[in-house]
């Protein structure tokens, strides 16, 4: 193979001199099948010890300075961008995964806000992200951010990975008048059991460039993950939505969190990173090769 590469390099040089108009803007990195592997990253949503399901009432006991209250939470949407994935090898070297922007979501059908012809974003559940093109090696940690970094967040016409206006956070759930992706949304209904039963919409969102700083999470793997053509890696993370509710001890009052409430957006982000997200398991398994 090495000889072939040398020949190719020679031919490229020849073609540069022989052909004036040839412009090579980007020579794609050639990754051979025997030098790269894949990794599956799953965000397994749950509510405490239960599986996370939409349109189901979950009990939530609120304890704050004024007392203890029984509430119920019912969810219609959980969505977030996972971006800038990096793998840390056993020598502490970071390997950034190119174009790693993934929309993780579990949502009911969404009537598109600007529906004139009744278009709907279909109900979707997506928890698994497949990382390809991973250099062979042993990895002891994985890093990623929740949200989108400024260079892409400032221009929704740029595409990379799954970023692009056709994706969920743009077309049906975006802030078109304010250039920024929503980084994380949780929506549903809060039911209040005490006194007169009543309920209120829950709409929690984070986003904006200021919140991307500090949006990185490092997951240390309990055993190093071996990735190569024979072994693919699998990392499963828990995403506990019950923990996410604890971002505020006044969820009834703060049922709506968005751009106007920066402190609560930060609390929501930080709670997601530090409390909701935990490692469930990481394994390497052998794969069949061609």
């Amino acid at each position: 193979m090495n000889k072939l590469i040398i020949i190719v390099a020679g031919l490229i040089a020849v073609s540069f001199t022989s052909c004036e108009k040839t412009e090579i803007k980007e020579v794609e990195k050639i990754v051979y099948a025997d030098q790269a592997g894949s990794l599956s990253l799953t965000f397994d949503a749950k509510y405490g010890d239960s599986d996370f399901e939409l349109n189901k009432k979950y009990p939530y006991q609120l304890v704050n300075s004024s007392g203890t209250y029984d509430m119920e939470f019912e969810f219609s949407r959980l969505r977030y961008w996972v971006s800038n994935v990096k793998l840390i090898d056993k020598d502490n070297k970071e390997h950034a995964i190119a174009d790693s922007y993934y929309l993780v979501e579990e949502t009911n059908e969404i009537a598109v806000q600007h529906l004139v012809n009744g278009e709907k974003y279909p109900a979707t559940k997506r928890e698994e992200v497949k990382l390809k093109d991973i250099p062979l090696g042993e990895y002891k940690a994985i890093k990623f951010s929740i949200g989108v970094d400024q260079k892409y967040n400032d221009n929704i016409a740029l595409t990379a990975g799954e970023l692009g206006s056709l994706n969920g956070m743009g077309v049906s759930d975006g802030w078109m008048w304010f250039t920024s992706y929503k980084f994380l949304t949780l929506a549903g209904t809060i039911h209040w059991a005490a006194g007169t039963p009543t309920s209120k919409a829950l709409s929690w969102e984070t986003g904006s460039n200021a919140l991307f700083d500090g949006a990185e999470k490092t997951i240390t793997l309990t055993t190093p993950l071996k990735v190569d053509a024979q072994n693919s890696g699998k990392v499963v993370l828990n995403v506990d939505v019950k923990e996410l509710i604890s971002a505020t001890d006044l969820p009834w009052v703060n049922n709506s969190i968005s751009q106007g409430k920066k402190d609560l957006m930060i609390a929501l982000r930080d709670t997601f990173l530090s409390k909701s997200l935990t490692l469930k398991e990481s394994t390497s398994s052998s794969v069949k090769t061609n």
Binding site: L115, V116, N155, A157
Partner: protein, 373 residues
């Protein structure tokens, strides 16, 4: 050189062969070109005395401007701008609310020309010298660049009401557009390429040939009357802290004292102006400074079109400015009085001067006009 990524995981040897064949195909005749994208650049006019135009945002992947002007891109953008295919009911185009003869505004306070027929929340702004607009688009600057801005009116329920997947479907079903997108971008039609092409067209809308410009550049040194020259001086003295420089705007956001109650936070804070973007208290009720270029053909005025005539505007700055904690400091005199003092004669001279900013070349330029006519 672009090679589709799907090939990456197949045999390296096959990839290399394709790669080599691609390299050796130098001419179009051999039919080996991967794309026949037309690279012919469009040189944006850079008028003397103007600051340097703003490039499109840097593409993180290439380190180069993400949307450089090309002849094919500009022409595609022009066609898209005038095509009602871009709206849900196929009856509304960008040009429905942006008329060239009104400097791409529409002569209405709040238009009802959108797909829903409901009045919009904002007055259609002029589209003039946008390649120099460096602090955001929309009246509140919420959109960081022209490319991102395009998605606002395209998708708004009361404007073009377009569901973007349907837009892409329509454009891909149209053989002309498939060819035009290919020429412009080497790509199939897509929503983000649509935004890019629209932005390219809007960047070439340069207005710099008004009588004022001919005077300023010394091409017609005697074109301004005595009254207009006095008006020019007055505008520089009294208006230029916001309507600054050759662009006649600082592209910034100011509360110009037209309101004194900002309590209404409905419609995602639309009445808050710039505050709904920055959440800085001093940005309450602040809106973008519009350029004075072509101001005499772009009535009515303000972000909601509340002033029907230029006389109403000047009357506001003389007598009507409301004193609030967020009213722009530039609107106060040294003695703390709010308002810009002007005599009747000064008002007449200022109006006389503003007429010299009407750029007939811009208003009638065939390169900016409807290609379907």
């Amino acid at each position: 050189m672009s090679v589709t990524k799907e090939h990456k995981y197949f045999s390296g040897v096959f990839f290399l062969l394709v790669f080599l064949l691609g390299l050796f195909s130098c001419s179009k005749e051999d039919g080996m070109d991967i794309t026949d994208k037309e690279e012919s650049p469009y040189t944006l006019r850079q008028p003397a005395l103007f600051p340097k135009a703003i490039e499109s945002a840097i593409d993180p992947k290439t380190g180069l401007p993400s949307n450089p002007l090309t002849k094919a891109g500009v022409e595609l953008g022009r066609r898209l701008f005038y095509d009602p295919l871009l709206s849900a009911n196929k009856q509304v185009s960008c040009a429905s609310c942006h008329h060239q003869d009104k400097a791409f505004s529409d002569g209405l306070a709040l238009t009802t020309a959108g797909v829903s027929g409901k009045p919009l929340e904002r007055h259609s702004p002029t589209l003039i010298n946008l390649a120099w607009t460096d602090k955001g688009f929309f009246w509140d600057g919420g959109s960081t660049n022209l490319e991102s801005q395009a998605f606002g009116p395209l998708t708004h329920a009361d404007e073009m009401g377009m569901y973007l997947p349907v837009l892409v479907e329509r454009l891909r079903a149209d053989a002309d557009y498939v060819e035009l997108f290919h020429k412009a971008f080497g790509d199939l039609p897509s929503e983000h390429r649509t935004a890019m092409a629209l932005s390219q067209f809007q960047r070439i809308l340069v207005s710099a040939d008004a009588p004022y410009d001919l005077y300023r550049r010394g091409e017609k040194p005697n074109i301004l009357s005595a009254s207009q020259l006095r008006g020019l001086n007055l505008v520089q003295q009294k208006c230029s802290s916001c309507h600054a420089g050759e662009l006649f705007t600082d592209n910034n956001f100011h509360n110009n004292g037209i309101d004194d109650d900002f309590g209404d936070g409905s419609h995602e804070g639309i009445y808050w102006g710039r505050y709904r973007i920055t959440y800085k208290p001093l940005d309450l009720g602040a809106f973008k400074t519009p350029t004075l270029r072509n101001v005499m053909v772009s009535a009515p005025y303000m972000h909601d079109g509340r002033f029907k005539t230029i006389d109403e505007v000047l009357h506001h700055y003389r007598f009507g400015i409301k004193h609030t904690p967020v009213t722009a400091k530039a609107l106060y005199q040294n003695d703390g009085q709010v308002g810009i003092p002007m005599t009747d004669q000064e008002v007449a001279d200022i109006k006389s001067f503003l007429n010299t900013l009407t750029d007939d070349t811009f208003l009638t330029n065939k390169e900016f006009s409807n290609p379907f006519k």
